[in-house]
């Protein structure tokens, strides 16, 4: 029998962790051992896991710091919730699972289109400029969504910009956001979305395209000189990441009865970035674990929730200093030689 490759085993472990976690959660729910608060967090956990994995594709694999990831999520949330309501009104599509899947596809597609439109200008820039422009786009998306009015008149959608006087029932009401959403998101679908995201991202990373993306990240000029189309591969990573964030957004939007654009502020982008950094930049499994743990922790430790962002900020700085500063990593090396060696191997693999 052929021995499975190292990456295949590693990927299987990642899928395995997610499946086991899902089964454990289901068993806990069946036995009634899960608190209501935690049950309410199940879908958001799935959403944040997908967000973290997709952001890791941009930050870790493609090496571009995107600070507007929540913007794509909001595009997906708005598109998904509208699609769900429209499908119900126009086609009497009562089946919630199919409606949710279609809504996520629409959300993903909308965010993907936004990703292409934003990617064209953004990916021409580098480093800090790229980061600040993604931030700018995130804010622009939020501003534009705050001015958007959409109404549902029978089976017809009416769109208004800065103009709330539309026929029919207003669904998207400017700064008030989307109201009257049919809450159809389920934990099972969230689990399915995580598996789908992992499947897409892990396969992309271990493909020819993925290696091209990482080569571009490591040395743009060298990659270009061996014939890699830098823009194409950067774009690929950026758009896939945006589309996955859009799908997560649709799932998130359909989990609540109202969604406003202000839910997807810069803070949300940073929160997801914290998951990625803490899980390990470029490490997909780490993102899954970090997103799960950091979403559950504040729920479990109520007293901690006031200091949540403070602790995250400190964690962000410390992780960066410990992994990047020569003095501190030497210090770590002196006390924990094994830890350092492992980190170095991992760094060599990912960075």
């Amino acid at each position: 029998m052929r021995k499975a490759s190292k990456t295949a085993v590693s990927n299987l472990i990642t899928y395995g962790i997610v499946v086991v976690a899902y089964i454990v959660c289901q068993v806990l729910i069946e036995n009634g051992q899960m608190t209501r608060a935690l049950k309410g967090q199940l879908v958001p956990i799935c959403v944040y896991v997908v967000m973290a994995v997709s952001l890791n594709l941009t930050v870790g694999i493609s090496g571009e710091l995107s600070l507007g990831h929540a913007g794509f999520m909001s595009v997906g949330a708005f598109a998904g919730t509208i699609a769900s309501a429209w499908l119900l009104a126009a086609f009497q599509l009562e089946n919630e699972v199919i409606r949710l899947i279609l809504a996520m596809v629409v959300g993903g597609a909308a965010a993907g289109v936004a990703g292409v439109l934003i990617g064209i200008p953004v990916l021409r820039l580098r480093g800090d400029y790229l980061a600040i422009v993604t931030l700018a786009f995130g804010e622009i998306i939020r501003n534009v969504l705050n001015c958007l009015y959409i109404s549902l008149d029978g089976a017809r959608l009416h769109l208004g910009f800065l103009n709330p006087n539309l026929p029919g029932e207003l669904m998207v009401n400017g700064p008030i956001g989307v109201t009257g959403i049919d809450k159809i998101s389920t934990f099972a679908m969230g689990f399915a979305l995580i598996l789908f995201t992992l499947f897409v991202v892990l396969n992309l990373v271990n493909s020819r395209a993925g290696r091209a993306i990482m080569a571009t990240r490591d040395n743009r000029i060298a990659a270009e000189s061996v014939g890699i189309q830098v823009t194409k591969y950067k774009m690929m990573a950026f758009v896939v990441s945006a589309a996955l964030a859009g799908m997560a957004g649709a799932l998130y939007g359909l989990n609540f009865s109202t969604v406003t654009a202000s839910k997807f502020k810069f803070d949300t982008s940073i929160l997801v970035l914290v998951f990625v950094v803490l899980g390990g930049i470029g490490n997909i499994r780490g993102s899954v674990i970090a997103a799960t743990v950091l979403t559950i922790l504040p729920e479990v430790l109520r007293a901690f929730s006031d200091y949540r962002m403070l602790v995250y900020a400190i964690v962000l700085i410390l992780v960066m200093l410990l992994t990047n500063s020569p003095i501190l990593s030497n210090l770590v090396n002196r006390f924990y030689p094994r830890l350092h060696r492992r980190a170095r191997e991992k760094g060599g693999e990912a960075a």
Binding site: V59, G63, L65, L67, P121, R124, L125, G127, D128, Y129, A131, I132, V133, L135, A136, F137, E139, I140, N143, V144, N146, C147, L162, G174, P175, I221, F266, I270, L273, V277, I281, Y307, M309, L310, Y312, A313, I314, V315, L316, I317, M320, L321, T323, N324, S325, P326, I327, L328
Partner: protein, 294 residues
Amino acid sequence: MISLLSYLCNGISLGSVYAIIALGYTMVYGIAKMLNFAHGDVIMIGAYVTFCAIQYLGLPPMVSVLLAMVACTLLGVIIERLAYKPLRQASSLAVLITAIGMSYLLQNVALLLWGSNPKSFPSVVNLGSLSFFDGQLLISGETIVTVVMNIIIMVGLTLFTGKTKMGKAMRVVAEDKGAAELMGINVNLTISITFAIGSALAAVAGVLLCSAYPTLMPTTGSMPGIKAFTAAVFGGIGSIPGAMLGGILLGVIEILGKAYISTELGDAIVFAVLIVVLLVRPTGLLGKPVREKV
């Protein structure tokens, strides 16, 4: 016509605040080649220190502002030493994430110290407003002080970087760190001084910003900070007159956009300017083009 003039005045006033903040960004970016995300939050801390000094200690406004400048200078130098200096050789991604972490740290410390309720900032300017055209056009004392301060700071900094030894050292470090070190310039000290000047200016900017828009919250500094970075890029990063030009233009664009296009889209317009500038002229209005070396 009169309303246009008054919008222009407001725009220049806001733009002057942006310009002072942008000077801090542009100097640090020019020398340390890093985007100091926490700069906007140093502004907020400066404003809070002034607020506390006036409100709780009962100090006169001028002394309070000086106190805030000292506090921010110390804060800026400490941040640089603890968080940024160990990462001098690290990738820009790592430095940027650290700076974002620092920005959140400052915001959350302020949240714990002063709470999330907005404080009403007392104006430190006790200058009457000028009125033109039979009182149809009012220029407030804050506007005059802001613009005058802006000009003083700009001229002062230009002279400092052009004439003094430390200023020249700064320009050399910005050009080539290695060569500067070989010439006997203390690079670390120069970078620290840059952070100190930038942070002291941030305190001034914080006071001026809060005098004009008197709500003070832990998040007060973040948006003006990002917009001021936009202004620095607009004018050409690393250039002192560029920061002033970019700041004032951006302030005018923002106020006019809010007045004539849409209030809700004000921020979107500012950021659209940033994107257009970066695509059309990435070096900004007064910046020098940089050639990439392999």
